[in-house]
Symmetry: C2
């Protein structure tokens, strides 16, 4: 069984980029040819349009990026038809050989946590994603069932430090901040599980717009893959993501969702929306290529 | 628009009990007449058995308890058919005039958080529950979209302090613990939104087996309804839940899931499983009736 960290490292090397496209299908922002009137459409019709959008995006980015990050909330908002769409989108991404990191931010304990593992990661369950994002508020006990899934080659990314306004006060306030305890746990469980890539199977979510803090989190979790949201639409640049990686820029998967999926060029591009998504994904990958180079210039 | 806190207070008074039954339908533990062989059943067949179980339970407890708490993980683990079952179970509980508190522990920001509000609380969405449990790890910003839903009579219960092993170290460790910050936020937003019941629409999840801490959390959030898991199967007694309430025992909704749903008496009761669930729910309600009495005896 190849570990998730080794699979991710390999996928990033094959693609030549640490770019991860977030799939946040907001029905109000789909390209016009897919959905003319979101406000009057049924949930079934919305789910169908979302599926055509996501699969179209996957067609365009396959081979270009190593991983995608579907945001579960958008599918759940459409109820059972949305969940069925999520199942098909995840399967399609895997078929196109992209790793699927399900952005679910789940967190519960005991048998409930195991039910979430079944819902998200288990290949005998409905989705069988490669990794899932997990919230640590219920403590170490809530993370253990997901950790067990790493033995079958699955991964998790634990929320450590997000860069949205106000998060810092709660996550890192005080003398022994919660985020520091989470980082300590990640570091210790990875130390026992390092694969041939040099990384362990438990990743950390560390926001992109935290440039001054990022080096500290990297030092605290040297063997963790970082999942880095906040690039592009949320204001961070490739340079802001530099400190999230290890020497040479490895170990940081940078996410862009809205920057690739939306904007007038996509929404109003008519039949050309796919080309517009492709062009935006190309720009994203090109911009990140600077991360592989020394700060301040080319080689 | 009647606030969630006022609706909950009224429902508890009408039922004469603060008992909330958790719906955690584990396919491996359903009564034998509903499902003979969970390991070889399809997800569709499992979802159908779960639906018959949950609706049967709702038939038995209607009128006895004011609220139910479906645990979303168990439904999601069955994929789209499970989600369709959850939609019908929530609708059936509301039809039977029980309040539905969806145990989802969601937490995200911005448009994603709003998508979760749509998925869980919005009456135009698939579930339209009365309230939802929310995880605070992403900070105040992640709670605001749920707070907005209180204007349409919906409620939220924010995870503050859970009693599972190890949670304390992370939630209340250090000088300015995360849980204290969350409690402060709840207290301040409720102060501006107190309804005729004397409670605000933002509740707190505070575990039952924290008797020595409970009085402190109650003092910190005097106008919050508490949702109290951990009774019964997790080891807490009615007396353990006394300090969670206000003077006279109000404002604490006590949850039992496995204690009502499971055990050999239900799983192997054959056609009599419904009577067994009813008897267990009766015992639960009867035991909690001690909360309305002074400690140590009857009136």
């Amino acid at each position: 069984m190849i570990s998730f960290a080794d699979r991710l490292t390999d996928a990033v090397q094959r693609a030549g980029s640490p770019a991860c496209v977030g799939l946040d299908p907001d029905p109000a922002r789909l390209p016009l040819p897919l959905l003319r009137d979101p406000d009057s459409a049924s949930r079934e019709a919305l789910a169908e349009a979302v599926e055509r959008f996501c699969c179209g995006v996957l067609d365009e980015i396959a081979g270009l990026v190593p991983a995608v990050k579907p945001q579960v909330a958008w599918f759940e908002a459409l109820g059972a038809p949305g969940f069925a769409t999520l199942e098909r989108v995840v399967a399609y991404a895997r078929q196109k050989r992209m790793l699927v990191i399900l952005d679910a931010k789940r967190g519960d304990i005991g048998s409930t946590a195991r039910a979430y593992v079944r819902a998200t990661l288990d290949d005998r369950g409905p989705l069988g994603a490669d990794a899932v994002t997990v919230s640590p508020y219920l403590g170490e006990e809530s993370l253990r069932p997901f950790l067990e899934a790493t033995a079958w080659g699955k991964g998790l990314f634990v929320l450590v430090r997000t860069s949205n306004p106000g998060a810092g006060q709660w996550q890192v306030g005080g003398e022994h901040p919660f985020a520091g305890r989470v980082a300590g746990w990640i570091s210790s469980v990875n130390a026992e599980r390092v694969g041939s890539s040099g990384y362990g199977p438990v990743g950390a979510v560390v926001g992109a717009t935290l440039a001054t803090e990022a080096a500290r989190w990297r030092a605290a979790m040297p063997k963790a893959w970082f999942l880095v949201p906040g690039y592009g639409a949320q204001g961070a640049s490739a340079d802001d993501c530099r400190a999230h990686g290890r020497d040479g820029g490895g170990g940081a998967l940078i996410v862009s969702a809205r920057g690739v999926l939306y904007g007038a060029g996509v929404e109003r591009a008519g039949a050309a929306w796919r080309a517009e998504v492709r062009s935006r994904a190309d720009d994203f990958v090109h911009d990140l290529s600077r991360l592989q180079q020394p700060r301040g210039g080319g080689r």
